[in-house]
Amino acid sequence: SQQGEEDPQALSIQEGENATMNCSYKTSINNLQWYRQNSGRGLVHLILIRSNEREKHSGRLRVTLDTSKKSSSLLITASRAADTASYFCATDAFRSGSEKLVFGKGTKLTVNP
C-alpha cells in the first residue's frame, strides 16, 4: 500500500449517522493532515494532528493517530448531506528535509438525506 492510503474507498451512509474513515501509512511522520474535496472543487484543510498527539477534535470531526500502527482515523459525527465529498489523508516524512505531502487516493463519502 502507498503512504497515506485511505480505507474504505467509498462509504455511503444516511444523514445523522457517523462516518469513519481510516488511513494507513508506511514511514515515520511529523504530522498527518486530513482534507476534504467537494466535487470539482479545491482541497479544504480539515485538521492536522502531530505525531506526538493521539486525538484531536474540531467541531463534528474527531481524528485519532496511532503511530505504533501507523494509522489514523477520521470520524464525522451526525453526518449531513453537505458532508458528501472525498476525504484524503496526507503525511509528511519525518526529518526528511522535505515538507512535501504524500496523499492517498481518498475515501468517497456519500451522505444520503
Binding site: A90, E99, L101
Partner: protein, 114 residues
C-alpha cells in the same frame, strides 16, 4: 483573510501549446507548493518554494515544466509544450511554518490538453 487563489480555474489547450498557471499564496506565507492530480491517480507533489528559492523540485515530471516565484510572492507554473498526459488538476498550497507544515490549498486549475 484571503485564501490561496489560482488562475485560471480551467484551461483547455491543444497539444504542443504553452500554458501558464498562476498561484497567489496566503499573504505572509513563505512556503508555496505545487501539486497535481491526473485522472484516477493520487495527488502528487511537484515542487516547493521557500520565498523565491526552490527548496524541493523532486516531483517535477520533466523539463517541459518550469516554475518560478519571482520576488517570493506569487508563483507561475509553465508547461511548454503541453502533452496529452499533462491533463489534470494542478493545485497550489501555501504554509507559514515549515515545522508545523499546515498546508492550505487553492481551488486548483483544471488543465485539459486536447
Amino acid at each position: 483573510e484571503a485564501g490561496v487563489t489560482q488562475f485560471p480555474s480551467h484551461s483547455v489547450i491543444e497539444k504542443g501549446q504553452t500554458v501558464t498557471l498562476r498561484c497567489d499564496p496566503i499573504s505572509g506565507h513563505d512556503n508555496l507548493y505545487w501539486y497535481r492530480r491526473v485522472m484516477g491517480k493520487e495527488i502528487k507533489f511537484l515542487l516547493h518554494f521557500v520565498k523565491e528559492s526552490k527548496q524541493d523540485e523532486s516531483g517535477m515530471p520533466n523539463n517541459r515544466f518550469l516554475a518560478e516565484r519571482t520576488g517570493g510572492t506569487y508563483s507561475t507554473l509553465k508547461v511548454q509544450p503541453a502533452e496529452l498526459e499533462d491533463s489534470g488538476v494542478y493545485f497550489c498550497a501555501s504554509s507559514q511554518d515549515r515545522a508545523f507544515n499546515e498546508q492550505f490549498f487553492g481551488p486548483g486549475t483544471r488543465l485539459t490538453v486536447l
